[in-house]
């Protein structure tokens, strides 16, 4: 169910990036897609009633406690991946917005139907 909603968010972003005429809205659409994927990654590692995956001495006291720790600890890897991908998307967002601003200076509009010097 949650995965379906996440996919819906992804499709909304893709629709926005593909259909909208305003450059800023296209950028927003791309970022919505990016967040949908980040959300998906986070959900992969999520566990209902999970705990932070940090081992300390009390977990190693007996087999049973350790097994219980393994069963309830969330997967830390997707969180590391999401942090990386957020940093990357921040970089590309900054570049995209700066190009939008430069284009607004040159053309005086954000409408991509009016920015059509390249054809063929």
């Amino acid at each position: 169910m949650l995965y379906a909603l996440c996919f819906l968010l992804f499709m909304i972003g893709l629709y926005c990036a593909a259909v909208k005429k305003n450059m800023v809205k296209i950028v927003i659409g791309i970022m919505v897609m990016e967040y949908a994927v980040n959300l998906f990654l986070i959900m992969l590692g999520y566990r209902l009633g999970g705990m932070a995956p940090i081992i300390d001495k009390s977990h190693l006291e007996s087999e049973a406690v350790f097994a219980q720790f393994l069963n309830s600890a969330v997967d830390p890897l997707p969180q590391a991946l999401v942090l990386t991908s957020i940093v990357i998307s921040l970089g590309s967002l900054a570049l995209m917005i700066s190009i939008c601003i430069r284009m607004y200076e040159k053309y005086g509009t954000f409408d991509i139907t009016e920015i059509r010097r390249l054809r063929g």
Binding site: L77, T84, I88
Partner: protein, 508 residues
């Protein structure tokens, strides 16, 4: 000599961040330093031929840590990247004097090289995605480097499609991790072999094909390329067309399909179809162009089609259980064409840059008669055109010949016919370039132009020599068995890749 694999990524990365320190006054120092970096990468790439190693980053054992894998395919791509980037860097030393902020340009250039080397060496899909983004983001900035109307527009278009492609790849990475519980290519491959493809993995494979297909500009996804490649400064066009679309697109796609997911008949047909559509559509669109660099950009799409066709045909034959000799011949043709195309398309873009710098225009109709004024440019351009068309002693002939022979032997006669037909279209395209740029009447306003000197010529002549000599790669058994065949083996072994990588780790 063995050196740790990260040098291929560390050298350009460190140099890239050193360069801005020199600022405006140290422009010459920065240029020399950047050239030293690319040339030392070339030397290292030549030294790494024939080796095959796994490096564990930070000594973390796989699958816990990240690993870098050097094998036949990686070292072939490393060699191609370093040859083209060394030539393009030499060319930019003089060509980029027209632009301001040269140090920033050199930084972005080296970042792009670092990203591409990382993509080629990475043995971990998330790491591959990170390097793919490093290379892509610096290429978006480089396309818009001129900062004029067209450049910004092309850069925006490229960036929107490129970002969507990257997000698709990231989504596929997430799906693969969710389904197999690993990010290491070898371990994913193991997991897929034991459990088979389920719905999620099939969807991930589709996303990989679309994402890498967008990066490689295969035909349904090619819309950005004819705008982006001509708008970039000439050495960058050479890098983009020569190596970027191949490492981010073709290499990544081939690695995923052959070594991780495993080739099947339907994927083989998909690659063959994409290849043929790209070849034909790219060639037809190119003939109608009147902008020199735009024509070359469309012809890149067509040539990329040959590479995908060769690799796909090989995969198809393997998946059907056909004769492995013909399969490896088809893959050899595809990979050899990849190498050839990198060299002659880079050379063509460099000559177009030389023409543009002398005449100040890229429109074919405003030129003519430049043969006398620009003798070296003319000679190198003719060699590159002869190679791309496939005239016998030059490199393009051999790769196309291998592809045709492979197609005929595997009884795909119609594919062989299409290959020959597209070659004819290519011939028309480059005759048009020769006719309008170098022959005919010299226009009044171009009487005063002079040939460009210095490093630009060195770069062009270097690549032209390679174009002539590259036939030796298949004709001389020593070179063939050391450079091309290991790369073919990597694709042919398919899923055995996983066992090989894991066993190499244990040996260490």
């Amino acid at each position: 000599m063995t050196m740790p694999l990260p040098v291929f990524i560390v050298i350009p990365l460190v140099t890239a961040f050193l360069l801005p320190i020199f600022g405006k006054k140290g422009k010459a120092v920065a240029t020399v330093l950047a050239n030293v970096a690319t040339i030392s990468l070339l030397v290292l790439a030549v030294l790494s031929i024939g080796q095959s190693r796994v490096y564990e980053v930070g000594k973390w054992p796989i699958p816990l840590g990240i690993n870098l894998v050097l094998d036949g395919l990686s070292s072939l791509l490393l060699l191609v990247i370093s040859v083209v980037s060394a030539a393009a860097m030499l060319f930019s030393a003089r060509y980029m004097e027209q632009y301001t902020a040269k140090a920033k340009y050199l930084t972005l250039f080296l970042l792009m090289v670092a990203g591409m080397n990382g993509v080629v060496l990475s043995g971990d899909i998330f790491n591959l995605f990170v390097f793919l983004e490093i290379a892509s983001i610096s290429s978006y900035a480089l396309v818009g480097f001129g900062g004029e109307h067209e450049e910004l527009e092309a850069s925006f278009k490229y960036m929107v499609l490129g970002s969507i492609a990257s997000i698709f790849v990231l989504f596929a990475v997430a799906l693969v991790y969710g389904n197999t519980g690993s990010l290491n290519m070898a371990y994913i491959s193991k997991a897929i072999q034991s459990s088979g493809l389920n719905v999620g993995l099939t969807f991930a494979l589709t996303l990989f094909v679309v994402g890498f297909g967008l990066k490689a500009a295969l035909v349904p996804f090619h819309a950005w390329l004819p705008d982006a490649h001509p708008s970039a400064p000439a050495p960058i066009s050479a890098m983009l067309s020569g190596v970027l679309i191949k490492t981010l697109g073709i290499y990544a796609l081939a690695r995923m399909i052959f070594n991780v997911f495993g080739i099947s008949v339907s994927i083989g047909w998909l690659l063959v179809t994409l290849g043929i559509v790209s070849m034909v559509a790219g060639a037809f669109l190119a003939i109608g162009q009147w902008d020199l660099k735009r024509l070359m950009a469309y012809s890149s799409i067509s040539q990329i089609g040959y590479v995908v066709l060769g690799i796909g045909l090989g995969g198809l034959i393997i998946a059907r259980g056909g004769n492995l000799a013909w399969a490896s011949l088809a893959i050899l043709g595809g990979l050899f064409h990849l190498v050839n195309h990198a060299v002659y398309k880079a050379l063509l873009f460099l000559t177009s840059g030389s023409v543009q710098m002398s005449t100040g225009t890229r429109q074919l109709k405003q030129m003519g008669g430049l043969a006398e004024k620009l003798p070296v440019t003319r000679a190198t351009c003719t060699i590159a055109s002869a190679s791309i068309v496939g005239i016998p002693p030059f490199s393009g002939f051999w790769s196309k010949l291998i592809l045709v022979v492979a197609a005929v032997q595997a009884h795909f006669y119609w594919i062989a016919a299409i290959i020959v037909f597209v070659s004819l279209c290519t011939l028309i395209m480059y005759l048009k370039v020769q006719r309008y740029v170098f022959l005919g009447e010299l226009p009044e306003n171009l009487q005063q132009i002079k040939e460009n000197r210095g490093t630009m010529l060195v770069a062009m002549v270097f690549l032209a020599c390679l174009c002539v000599l590259m036939g030796l790669l298949v004709l001389m058994p020593v070179l063939k068995s050391n450079i091309l065949e290991p790369a073919v083996e990597v694709l042919k072994e398919g899923l055995l890749y996983a066992d090989r990588v894991i066993s190499m780790v244990e040996k260490v």
